[in-house]
Every structure is written in C-alpha cells, then in structure tokens.
C-alpha cells in the first residue's frame, strides 16, 4: 500500500493541470516541485528590488479555454491585466505596422496588404482550427493504432477533406514550407512580413527561410482559436497563472510539496514505483507522471541505464537547442519609441525590421554565435499592472533571438556585452532608452535550463518542428503519454501538443491515464 496513487514530478503548469484532472477523477495525487514557486515556466520573478517580470513566457497566448473552464482558473485567482493586445512591428523609419486580430494597419501599408492580411488570417485560422482539434486529443501511434487512434485519425482526415479540395491542397503545401516564401507570396510591406514571420520562428532554432516555419506560425495561431485575439498579460505576471493552477489543483484535492527536488524515479522490474527526493526521502506510488522534459526525465530521473538503448537513442536525439534569451530591464520611466504614443507601449512590440534581419540573426546561432542584431519581442507589462514596479517606474521584458545555448565562447564572458547589444538595439528605436535602464538581468538558455530544469533551456521542451510534433512527439514509442517504462507517463510540453502555456499536454496525459485505468 502506498499513500498516493500518482506522483507528479514537477509543478509546472502542465503538471498541475494533469494533477488536477487526475484528482478530480478520484486519484490521490502528490506534486513534487523543486522550486518554491509553482507553475514552472509560467513564473514571475522580482529580479531587482520592487521590479517583477514574467521570467520565462511573458505573454499568455494559448491557454486552452477548456482547461481554464474545467479548472475554473478565474475563481482561483487568474486575472488578465490586459488581453487581445496588438502586435506592433517597429520600423526604423517610424512607419510601424500594427496587427489587431485579423486586421493590420500602418502608415506604410498598401490597401492590398491590409486586405491580403485579413484573407491570410482567415485561411490560417481555418488550418489552425484543425490543428487545435488535433491538439485536444492524444496523437495516433505510427503503426499499431487502435480503435481510438483510428477514429482520431479519421476525424483529422475528414477535417482536412472538409476544408475543400483547394484549401486542403494549400495546407499540404503550406505546412511544409517556410514563412519567407509565404510572406513574399502574400505581402509587400517588409515590416509586416517580418512581424508575421517572427511568429513562425519564435522560440525556435529556425529562421524565416527554414522550411517548417509556416507550421510554427499555424501553431501560434492555435492561440487565436483558443480565443486570444492577440497576446494577453496576466496580472501579477505569469507566475500568477502558476499560482492559480496550483490553487485549482489543491482545491481538487492535490497535495503539493514545493522545494522538493526529485533525485530519481524509482523502478522495480522496469516499472515505476515511486521517487527518491534529493536528501534521500523515498515516496512510493503505482504511477509516476513526469512534467519534466523527456531528456531530463530519462537521462536524469530514470537514468539511461535503466531503459533500453534504442529508446536512449531516440531520447538523446530530440533537438532541444534553444536560441532564446530573456532580458529583464528595470526602467525609471516609460521609454519613448519613435512613432509610438504612450497608449501603445503596453502592446506587444517587435523589433525585427525585415525577414532578412531575422534570417541574419539566425545565421549567427547556427555557428554558436549570438546575433549581432537580435530580433526582439518586447513587453512592458507594468503599463497594465502597476503592481509590477514601483510607482512611476516600469519593467520591460524582452525575448531575444538568437542566443544559442551552446555559445562558442561561453555565456559568462559574453553576458554583459550581449545585454548592452540588446539595449542598444532598442535605443535605435527609443532614443535615450539606455539611460532609463536602472537594473537588468539576462537569462541565457543556460540560465533558463538551470532555473526551470529544462534541458537546453528550450521553452517548448523540444523544438516544434515537423519531425518533432504530433505522432513524433516527444519520440515514437512515447507519443501517447505512456512510456516503455510501465507506470511512467509524460505530461510536459515535450509531449503532444507541445509548449506555449496551453495546458493541453497535462490535460491529454491525465485523460490517457484515466482511460487506461487499471492498466495504467
């Protein structure tokens, strides 16, 4: 007899979602989280006295409405300080481009581009709806599919056929190609092309020219299907989302222990039987669910030596090279961007003036160098939420691409220089900006790896690329949340459908565990 039915390793948002669903199905669940705060990469952080930012993801764009409703996250404290924000692509000449849901505006835009964008948005949403359906269920297995899989596959196939011959053939082509070509096909305005193509490479080790990036873009647009007509800001920072999910889980009866890093997942006869915490405490349970990324789960927690070699090979070959850094800046006032008024400062600001600019920024990452001119996704959340900074002051959070995990010269000696480079890049658009910076913190992929226990510092627990999604995620043999280790399940972003603070990996995993019941 054990005290728990399920041990959940990792109190990230997916882990907590999974735990909550399991508890609601009557399981006795214990969540073990290494850090003090809950929510994993949905985290807030006071990086300088009085200044708080979302330390990993800074926009909420994807959260599944089903998860949100099922867990009643609002009741548990989830509040949006702002939602349906614009994305503004900053142009060096001040002719910025503003995307609001399915429309785009900007002084430099032709009417054709504006119309083309609305049409483009309509089409992509149509495709993303299909994706969203596939995201809500477990992916079918590649070969030995069972009845459920075949039904799911049939539904997906039928959904594709329902698109109509024309759109279906478009989807077959689009999903594989790159943003660069699609942008060239559809638009003239360079800032618009860059702004949209940046969505295709966000968080990825890819440039706009890389095939598969349209898939990355469709992936982002699943957020629109989930009801986000633009990014949202969580009140209190993304950490508040983590707290809300944790509260929901507790309310469902989940027990949560923070500051309890798991040393290893214990096996008996190739079956998971519990965990050992750092410090030696052993906790037994018939099921263990890992919210950690697949590489960390198998390399570190299970141990490669305890699984078979073919599986080791598959796990170790998962591509998890992050090229994203996070820069946090404490500002003694609101910055002044050329061509933007103060009401626009709370929107999502993107510095990526051309597709070639992003591509060049990516080129460096291929060779283990940081971008000389990085592409930036900027959030000044304090505009919407005054609790994040002292009165009159502001916090800026910047997603910086590209900053390779395996920087050739090593990050320690490069951090300061890179921070300055990002500040200078922003200053080109916001004169006098650098003098407003009173404190800064750069989280490189190496820091993110350490902070959030994500291998390679990869936000999505593995590259979102066609060879690593759907029935290939995280790797064949573990695509339905269960693994070759009996009693061990995966529920993190490394599993289908992936990252982006959606909560679906956690929900799908819970459903699979509940469905398998006694066989689990």
């Amino acid at each position: 007899m054990t005290d728990y039915d399920v041990l959940l390793v990792g109190g990230g948002h997916n882990g907590l979602v999974c735990a909550a669903y399991l508890a609601r199905a009557g399981k006795k669940v214990l969540v073990l989280e290494a850090n003090e705060p809950l929510g994993g990469a949905a985290a807030s952080r006071e990086f300088a006295p009085g200044y708080t930012v979302s330390s990993c993801a800074h926009w909420l764009t994807h959260l599944s409405p089903v998860v949100s409703k099922d867990l009643d996250l609002e009741r548990h404290g989830l509040q949006l300080a702002a939602r349906d924000l614009d994305s503004i692509g900053l142009a060096p000449d001040g002719q910025h481009v503003t995307v609001t849901g399915n429309t785009v505006q900007g002084a430099g835009l032709s009417p054709e581009d504006m119309q083309a964008y609305t049409e483009f948005h309509r089409k992509t949403i149509k495709f993303s709806k299909l994706l969203a359906k596939a995201f809500a269920v477990r992916p079918p297995k590649l070969v030995e599919s069972n009845f459920t899989d075949r039904v799911n596959l049939l539904k997906l196939g039928l959904g594709m056929k329902m698109l109509g011959r024309e759109d279906m053939s478009d989807l077959l082509r689009l999903a594989l190609i790159n943003m660069y070509d699609v942008m060239e096909e559809n638009f003239d305005n360079e800032t618009l092309k860059a702004l949209l193509s940046f969505d295709g490479v966000l968080g990825a080790h890819m440039g706009p020219r890389s095939p598969n990036t349209v898939f990355g873009y469709l992936y982002r647009r699943v957020g629109d299907v989930h009801g986000y007509n633009g990014p949202a800001v969580v009140k209190g920072g993304m950490g508040a989302l983590g707290t809300a999910v944790a509260d929901a889980a507790r309310a469902a009866g989940v027990e949560i222990r923070t500051g309890s890093p798991v040393e290893k997942i214990n096996l008996q006869d190739s079956r998971a039987v519990g965990v050992t915490l750092v410090g030696g405490e052993v906790i037994a349970a018939p099921l263990v669910v890992s919210n950690a990324d697949p590489v960390t789960t198998f390399e570190k927690l299970v141990g490669y030596r305890n699984i078979e070699t073919g599986m080791v090979r598959r796990v170790s070959q998962i591509r998890m090279r992050s090229g994203v850094a996070k820069l946090h800046l404490a500002l003694d006032g609101l910055p002044q961007f050329k061509g933007l008024d103060n009401t626009q400062l709370g929107q999502r600001l993107v510095i990526a003036p051309s597709m070639d600019y992003i591509e060049r920024a990516f080129n460096s990452a291929k060779y283990g160098e940081s971008s000389a001119l990085p592409a930036l996704d900027i959030s000044i959340a304090s505009v919407h939420d005054s609790s994040l900074a002292p009165a009159g002051k502001h916090v800026m959070s910047v997603i910086v691409q590209f900053a390779p995990y395996d920087l050739r010269e090593g990050w320690e000696s490069h951090k300061e220089q890179f921070t300055q480079r990002v500040i200078d890049t922003i200053s080109a658009y916001a004169p006098g900006f650098s003098s407003q910076v009173v404190a800064s913190e750069l989280l490189t992929p190496v820091d993110l790896e350490r902070e959030f226990h994500m291998k390679g510092g990869h936000w999505h627990h593995g590259e979102i690329s066609l060879d690593q999604v759907m029935m290939m995620r995280p790797f064949p043999g573990a695509t339905q949340y269960g693994t070759a280790v009996d009693g061990l399940y995966l529920c993190g972003a490394g599993s289908h459908p992936g990252g982006g603070v959606m909560g679906l990996a956690g929900r799908n995993a819970a459903q699979e565990i509940i469905k398998r019941g006694a066989q689990a």
């Binding site: 070969v143 011959r165 024309e166 077959l172 594989l176 080129n363 060879d467 064949p476």
Partner: protein, 538 residues
C-alpha cells in the same frame, strides 16, 4: 498544316521519353525543340574543339532501367559506365576517400572514427529501407489525397499501407527523412565532420537550401534511389556524355515514327472551347493536335506558353508560387592533362569519382548563407568529376574534360541581374578553390565554359536555372508535384499534360515523369498502355 495526335513542347529527355511511348502506341507525335539541338539539359556539346562537354547534367544513376531496356536505349547508342570512388579534400592536407569496396571504405572511415565506420553500416541499411519504399513509386503516378475518386482512394490506401510495412522505427525514420535537415539526420549517425560533409553534399545538390534546412534529408535520399545495373545508389557516366541519353531516346522515338522539329520555339499552347488544339511558334507557324504535352517547367508552362485567360486562376497562382530556385552553376573545363591532387596518386580510384572540397557542415552551411545574402558562395561546394578518365570519347588522348557543379549561385545578385564581372568573380572562386588542392590545375586549363543560373535559364529554358525543374522539398513532391490536385500529369485544360521533371518523381535524368505522363495520356485516349511497370524490388 497536318494535324498530329500529340505535340510535345521540349525535346528534353522526358519529352523524348514521353514521345517514344506515345509513338509506340501508334500515335502521330511531334516534338518541338527551341534550340537547334535536342536534349534540353541532357546534352553533349563540343564547345572547345575536340572536347565534348556534358555541359548541364553530368552523371547518370536515376535513369529508370525499365525505360532503358524497354526503349532499347543500348541498341540506340546508350552505354552507362559506373564509377566508384570519390573524395573530399580537407583543409589540413588530409582527405576523406570514398571507396567502392566495402572493407576499404570501412578502413578509410575508421581512420577518422571506428564508431563512424561502423555507424555507416547502420546508415546504409536505413537509407536502403527508405529507398525501397520510394522506388516502387517512381514508375507510377502519385496518389491524390485530395481526390475522392475510387481509383485515387485505392492508390492512397496502398500507398499508406506500404508505409506501415516499415514498422514503427522505419516509419519514424521515413518521417524524419522527409522533414529533417540532412545535417541533423547525419548528426544522428556520425561524429566526424568530414564524413558528414562528404555525405551531406547529396542533400543540397540542385537545392536552394542549406545542410541544416529541414527537408534536405529527402534530397539526399533522392540521390540514393537510383542504380546502375541493380546496384542501388551507384552512379555512372553516359559514354559520350549525357547527350547519349537524349540521342538514344530520340532514336528510339524516331524508330516508332516520331518527328522532331528543332529551332521551333513555342509561343503559345492554343486553347479553344476549353481544350487544347495545338501550339503556335514564335515564328508564327502553328501545329495542331488534340493532345499537347509540356516538357517545360511548371512556371514556363503556365506563366509563359499558356495564356492566363485559358487557365483557372488558382493554377496561375500556384505556378507563381511554385518554388524553382536557381541555386547552382557549372564550370566545364578542357584540360591539357590530368591534374595532380594533393595527397592522392595520379589515377587513384578516388579521383575517378566525385571530388569535393568542403570538409565540414559549417562550411557548407556558410556557402548557403552567401546565397541567402544574394551572392555566390565565396567558399563554394563543388561536385567535380573528370569523366574523361573512363570515357575516351570526351577529349583527345592524354587530355581531359572536367565538369564542376557549383553551389551556391543565386538567380540574381542582390536583386539585380548577373553581370560579366559577377560571372568572372564566380568563376574565380571555383578555380581558386580547386587550385588550392591541385598545384598544376590552373596551368592545365585550355578552355572553361562558365554557366551561372543566367546562362542555364537562357539556353536550356529552366527557370532560374534550377536543374530539377522545381525544388525537391516535400511540399513539391509526390502528390504535391508540381501542385496538389495536378500531380497526375493532367493539366487544368482538357488535352493538356505535363511531362517534365517538375512532375513526379522529379528531376535527376530519370525519364520517369515522361513515361508516367504517357501512361496517363494513353489511358485518357483509351489506347493500349505501352509504358512498362516498375521492376519489383525484392
């Protein structure tokens, strides 16, 4: 003017193959060729006295053996001589040799890494698994997943079941092959950079992508699925140059009564009442037929020789969006003697094969960065051969012919046309690279023909000088080639067909598109099929 049963625009190898099968079925066929010589991109040309250049395509492997045998090409003068070997020269003075003999190959690899040498066996087996999957589809029309017709659904089901027969591991590998980059794929097997670089070349040839661009693993596979005499993956020279392929096809075609008209530049495919009726030439002549087959690439077919008003709007859009990128150039060089290469003895089997000078994936990728930046690679990837070492017909005794395929070369230089200075700079970057590894090379050059995408497009008519008539990425393969919904050789206008490398299964001098198109045409005309089935792989 006399009315033909079918007119084919373009006397490339696919046009001639298509013509041969239509003529064999008893059709009255005319092939129209813009140039004064036939062959398209499979030609042998004497551009320097007593030297024969295969100045476009230069080696042979993918040409379907079923067609070679069925059209009796050997009787019509085609002889393919396989070559073994190959080498990548390294910056440190060493080199990586690619030997034909398995044990010798193992030892050469083991010199760099015993693990890699062993992993190569796994790699070979896995590549073989994948080629076995694709090869049966080379001589068939691709399935059409967008169609609801019974025949198409049956095709699709069969196609799907051939995948599951690979087992889970094999199928996962298939998906990787079709979506991954060749660099990432090779990283899964090898640790030695020069070995990866040597193998990766096949993943980018003719493609405007880098070794780390997703999708390039398939291009690698495309170069592995051919065979010479049943040796899957091996390559050979056409004796007398690649023109021997087209001339033997032409002779076979003519033996069935087919006609060829050279210097006949097509202006327009004539459409009346929603169906094709013939072809008008630039000189004003018109030729009539109910069936018109285009051997041209999809862009030239739909945006050039067809009138937009005769086409559904979506086809025009699709043709505009079809990716056919200029990415390569070519140097054809007459040599006063056989050059010496550092580190290998003269006449070594290594120098009879394909020679390369890029010893790391990073150098290959950086060469692609230059292309993205709108210029030719300063440190280019070369696929260089001296076929006159095995074919005495190409150069006078003691002299040699060298063919150098060069990547990357963009269709335009930073958005503008190529100039003669650009061309000279491009040529210099290639010659300098070779000379770094061959001390006597420069002194041996008697004549050099340099072809940038500009020349290839102008002469052969391939848009942007793309050798495959369209990128070989999965969005343009199988049922997506050239466009979804039009992948079974039938054009959007009744009576109009496509037979070029822009259709399934793509480029590389296979002749399969021409043959597969003929099968569909004959089917539509209710004629007895003359096109052979593919050999069954055991």
């Amino acid at each position: 003017m006399r009315k033909y049963d079918a007119i084919i625009i373009g006397a490339g190898h696919n046009g001639l193959t298509n013509g041969a099968y239509l003529a064999k079925a008893g059709l009255d066929v005319l092939v129209l060729e813009r140039n004064s010589y036939i062959g398209g991109a499979t030609v042998s040309r004497e551009l320097h006295k007593d030297w024969t250049y295969s100045n476009c395509s230069y080696v042979c492997s993918l040409l379907r053996p079923e067609i070679v045998r069925d059209l009796e090409l050997p009787r019509h003068g085609l002889q393919v001589v396989p070559y073994g070997g190959g080498v990548t020269f390294m910056q440190n003075g060493d080199h990586f040799g690619n030997y034909y003999d398995h044990q010798r190959q193992y030892r050469e690899m083991a010199r760099f890494s015993k693990r890699d040498a062993n992993a190569y066996e796994r790699y070979t087996a896995n590549v073989q698994k994948q080629t076995r999957l694709i090869r049966p589809y080379l001589m068939r029309r691709p399935p059409d997943p967008t169609s609801l017709k019974l025949r198409d659904l049956k095709d699709l089901a069969e196609f799907a079941s051939s995948f599951t027969s690979l087992g889970e591991e094999g199928l996962a590998d298939t998906l990787k092959f079709w979506t991954k980059s060749v660099g990432d794929y090779l990283d899964e097997y090898f640790e030695t950079d020069v070995i990866k670089a040597h193998l990766a070349g096949s993943g980018i040839i003719g493609t405007a992508l880098g070794v780390y661009s997703p999708g390039t693993a398939y291009v690698l596979l495309h170069h592995y699925m051919g065979d010479v005499d049943g040796n899957v993956g091996s390559w050979g020279f056409a004796r007398g140059g690649m023109g021997a392929v087209s001339s033997s096809l032409a002779k076979s075609y003519q033996s069935f009564g087919g006609e060829i008209l050279c210097d006949a530049d097509a202006e327009r495919i004539l459409v009346k009442n929603g169906r094709t009726v013939g072809v008008a030439l630039k000189n004003g002549d018109e030729y009539y037929a109910d069936v018109v087959v285009s051997n041209l690439d999809p862009k030239r077919t739909f945006l050039d020789v067809m009138d937009a008003s005769d086409l559904p709007a979506d086809v025009v859009k699709k043709a505009e969006n079809f990716k056919i990128r200029g990415s390569s150039g070519k140097l054809n060089i007459a040599l006063d003697g056989l050059p010496t290469f550092n580190g290998i003895p003269k006449g070594s089997p290594l120098s009879v094969g394909d020679m390369h000078f890029s010893d790391s994936l990073e150098r290959l990728e950086r060469a692609y960065d230059d292309w993205k930046g709108g210029t030719w690679s300063k440190d280019p990837y070369l696929d260089m051969l001296i076929p006159s070492q095995m074919d005495p017909t190409l150069a006078p005794p003691g002299k040699h012919m060298m063919t150098v395929f060069v990547q990357y070369a963009p269709p335009k230089i930073k958005g503008r046309e190529w100039t003669d200075e650009d061309k000279a700079g491009f040529e210099k970057s290639v010659i300098d690279q070779i000379a770094r590894y061959s001390p006597d090379f420069k002194d041996l050059i008697l004549h050099c023909e340099t072809r940038t995408p500009r020349e290839i497009e102008a002469e052969v008519g391939l848009t942007e000088g793309n050798i495959f008539q369209g990128e070989l990425t999965f969005d343009q393969l199988l049922f997506n080639r050239p466009f979804p919904g039009y992948a079974q050789y039938r054009g959007p206008v009744k009576g109009m067909y496509m037979c070029g490398s822009g259709t399934h299964p793509g480029g590389g001098v296979m002749a399969a598109p021409g043959a597969n198109a003929a099968r569909e045409i004959l089917r539509d005309l209710n004629k007895t099929n003359t096109v052979p089935e593919g050999y069954a792989d055991d």
